[in-house]
Amino acid sequence: MPKTLSQMTTEPHSNGGAPPGAVTPAVVVDGLVKRYGEVEAVRGIDFAVAPGETFGFLGPNGAGKSTTISMLCTLVHPTGGSARVAGHDVERERDEVRRNIGLVFQDTTLDGYLTAEQNLRLHAELYGMPRGAVAERMRQVMEMVGLWERRASLVMTFSGGMKRRLEIARGLLHSPRVLFLDEPTVGLDPQTRSSIWNYISELGRDEDITIFLTTHYMDEAEYCDRIAIMDSGTIVALDTPEALKASVGVDRVQIQTGDDEATIAALRDRFEIEASVAEGAVTFGVPAGEQFVPRLFSELGQEIHSVNVSRPSLDDVFMSYTGTTIRDAEESGKSDMRRNMARMMSR
């Protein structure tokens, strides 16, 4: 949902946690490609993530986010290009990479027949953590996600949100330098989602850790220091959420009218604006939206019930770079609207 004018506040323009460039990047990706037979899931992407950064991959399902994250986690062999995580090559130094990363997957990877504590102990043993350190560290990560009291319960008795929290705790147990979260909140209710985000942002502060995540929720991408927008296997934009929004350059105007068709035609004739119907309203992009509204009323010659002007949201950013909304991209097949919107929001 785009923010309305009244909700808009001047957001502090910061680089987030973007640290100095002298240190070794947490993640460096160079021309990374993954091909499955004829299908090119990832088509040669480049980017770098600084230590301490919260970096988000945003894109619809099937954009190549999960494939990329799988390559960075040494789960999938790249077809081409290279990637280094925590200073180690994902192909040649798999073990080094694995020791330095924590993973939280889309689907749960906990053993429901074990207790929460047994799951973490198993992880500690698999990762060869020094025995003396396990108990204290385990308590710490479980307290952080609020599950210390439930440590003796079988995981199969946990709710979806509790399982996800336990996975985050487990991902952190061996003090990884980079934590990968693949759609960490998918399938959770809004309340649980926001509590998961609280844990994640707390992490960035307390744990001195780089967080790399994928999401297809726009509102969640706002939590990231920087976002890479991925579409059809390529990165189409990469910047801070603020900079991305600023780059759109136009405000989004939505009007409720008596006759949408006539309004769209009138907009084309009088203002040379290409509009289309989205979310039940005639929608278009225009620079300096507030100043455009008076002209709209005097010159459109159509009945207008309501007007909504909003600053670009990440939805608009997504649309301006990919020519579609993320929701429609997931439904797919709405090519005519995709073209219209692309023209409308084109920069």
Binding site: T74, L75, T109, L126, P130, M144, R205
Partner: protein, 307 residues
């Protein structure tokens, strides 16, 4: 191996103001994971093994149900057929005769179920937690096979415990021999199951495969009949069945502790022959052990290839 823990104080500025239920603010224990070593591999094997035991001990129903089949074979089928077969058994209890086969079957089924847990783990995602750990895939497979074999051998031990009910003496040497052979069968069958589980994604497929492989193996092994005077085709299939080489030494061990006539021994426990040559027991044991090791190697190779 550097095994150290460093404790880094967090600047107080970063502790959240309103963290009421939060962690005891103050410090974060950073753990350094040491580089991979033989010791860390052994720990991984051990923990994967231990998980199998924990899961088995939780699943009391499984322990119980897997005992039903051996009891059915021994006491229902065994008693029933005994009335028909009494003329041909030279006075030996028919249940005693089929006992080694039933013991093998109990071990086999439990071992296959343990191997099936890999398919289960894959379906429920847990396999991935193990696959991304900084340990060799071979350690995971070894732990899994060791766990499955332990659980299956334990199941065998329960069947061994009831041996007295069917005229088999509780002799320590015999018990150790039977348990040792059970352990070997448990290992070989788990390795066999894991080898298949590496390539199978669905539980149903695995179960179907199990029916297709385990039942013929059981029936061809001579568990239910004597291999003394079989028609040619069945004799050949019997010699090709690996389980034959587990049932025979077990039966041989039991018969050597029974008070039976030479004629009975010759008819019921003739031993395995290859083109007329009597296969010695150590070779039979070696057949099972080598097959187990080959299948274990294939399983390890398959898991190392998997992405």
């Amino acid at each position: 191996m550097a095994t150290e823990t460093t404790t880094t104080p967090i600047p107080s500025a970063s502790s959240p103001a309103g963290a009421s239920s939060g962690p005891p603010a103050g410090h974060v224990a950073r753990v350094r994971v040491p580089a991979r070593s033989l010791r860390s591999e052994l720990r991984a094997i051990r923990v994967v093994w231990k998980r199998e035991l924990i899961r088995f001990s939780r699943d009391r129903l499984r322990i119980l149900t897997s005992l039903i089949q051996p009891f059915l074979f021994l006491f229902v089928l065994g008693t029933g057929i005994a009335t028909l077969a009494s003329a041909g058994t030279h006075g030996v209890n028919f249940k005693t005769f089929i006992y080694p086969g039933v013991l093998c079957m109990a071990v086999m089924f439990t071992a296959m179920f343990s191997a099936a847990s890999i398919v289960w783990d894959r379906e429920f995602g847990f396999l991935r937690e193990m696959m991304v750990a900084p340990v060799r895939r071979s350690s995971i497979v070894l732990g899994k096979v060791a766990g499955g074999a332990t659980v299956a051998a334990f199941q065998g031990l329960i069947v061994i415990a009831i041996a007295g009910l069917i005229d088999i003496p509780y002799n320590l040497g015999l018990i150790l021999e039977l348990f040792g052979l059970s352990l070997l069968v448990a290992f070989a069958i788990t390795a066999f199951g894991v080898m298949f589980a590496a390539r199978i994604n669905q539980m149903q497929s695995f179960m179907a495969l199990m029916q297709m492989v385990v039942m013929p193996m059981f029936f061809l092994s001579g568990a239910m009949f004597s291999v003394a005077a079989l028609p040619q085709w069945l004799a050949v299939l019997n010699r090709l069945d690996p389980l034959t080489y587990a049932v025979e030494p077990m039966r041989s061990a039991i018969f050597s502790h029974l008070n039976v006539s030479a004629a009975a021994r010759k008819a019921l426990d003739p031993g395995i022959t290859w083109f007329g040559w009597r296969v010695p027991t150590p070779l039979e044991v070696a057949v099972i052990a080598i097959l187990g090791l080959v299948m274990l190697s294939i399983a390890i190779w398959e898991f190392s290839q998997a992405e």
